[in-house]
Amino acid sequence: MPIILFSSDFYEKGRQLAEKTAETLGYRYVDREILPSVAEKYGIAEAKLKRALDETPTLMGMPSKAWKLYLAYIQEAVLGELLDDKVVCHGLAAHLYVLGVSHVLKIRILMDPDERAREVSNQNEVSLQKAGKIVRRQDKQRRKWSLDAFNQDETDPGLYDMVINISQIAPDEAVEMITTATGYRKFQPMTYSIKCLQDRELAARVRAALLKSFPDVRVQARDGAVVVEIKALKREKRRKAAAVKSIVGEISGVHYVEVHVINDIFRQAAESSR
């Protein structure tokens, strides 16, 4: 059965709908509740993972390197959860990094801006005008976050299989529409799509293992064969390639590792100007 990924412009409403969909279909529901186990695995504070999902790096805030690392840890955990189908996932930005997998159904939940402003106004006890400003700022921030984090514009409807405005479609009707779509043949798992997901999960595990030591690492995986691209100075090439092979060789599911080392021209230029 398909995997359903929810994205919403109003977190709480998206969560309610995702939970209801999971309950109706008898699917497992995955959300930010998985973050404590990710935090424990990597020995970091859960709050930092939550912040990484909501904020972009700033000079005074979260450093860019740490932000990328936390997102890679979350991505690894989420893809691991998605390997078993019959899952509904919300609040972990999976719609931005689970790309090209045909049995993944992506749903975007929207509300009319005025209605959202009313909700924000009630929740935060602020004027409607101020709530409207908050809503616009949130939208701008989410768009920036999605572009910076995964180079995808979360607000682009083309990213989704279904976009539902719950100001116009009642939540129960929305759940019915989504559950009906899960029965469409085009969203059923097949050998190709299952392999795509397995490849992405393996690539995410390898990347999470390497990112701390190799911040520019890029990873591709197919059927257990992994291609890793890193940057290094000429004199470091052999040592770094060996280090990558040693780390990746220990990862379960990896049968072959190929390392491409690209000359780090910026570091080289910096060193030669000293």
């Binding site: 090209g100 045909s102 085009k186 969203f187 097949m190 050998t191 190709y192």
Partner: protein, 137 residues
């Protein structure tokens, strides 16, 4: 299994049929191999196959047309699409049109045998298939 599964294998690359025919014969399938989609379509018109395995990108008639032809003739026949140009939109289109499964090339003969075994099960049949060593054809 009492009766052999009748499989038609269509790929314009001769090496594909040459490699896969023995792999499927070994698990008890009766395999007919075609490189020309026109000849394959003609043969599909004559006989009801249990399973059709077809490449997608071919000259004259592509795999999607073969799929439609098979589905129109017999909804019982399971069609497995194989392609070196796999992408999400193509996979979804194939499934929507009634394909049983979709496999990206390159793949191991075991990958296809596994899908054939699944198709046999869906047909109410069964074949003895245990995953052999990786280096076995």
């Amino acid at each position: 299994m009492s009766e052999k599964l009748k499989v038609l294998l269509l790929d314009d690359e001769p090496i594909v049929g040459k490699r896969l025919k023995p792999a499927l014969t070994k698990i008890g399938c009766e395999v007919e191999v075609f490189q020309d989609p026109r000849e394959a379509v003609e043969r599909i018109g004559e006989t009801e196959f249990d399973i059709v395995v077809t490449d997608i990108r071919m000259d004259d008639i592509d795999g999607m047309q073969v799929l439609e032809h098979v589905i129109n003739k017999s909804r019982r026949t399971k069609v497995i699409m194989i392609t070196g140009y796999a992408m999400m939109s193509l996979a979804r289109e194939a499934m929507e049109k009634g394909a049983f499964d979709f496999i990206a090339k390159p793949f191991q003969p075991d990958d296809l045998r596994r899908v054939i075994a699944k198709a046999a099960e869906a047909l109410g049949s069964s074949i003895d298939f245990e995953v052999p060593n990786q280096d076995e054809p």
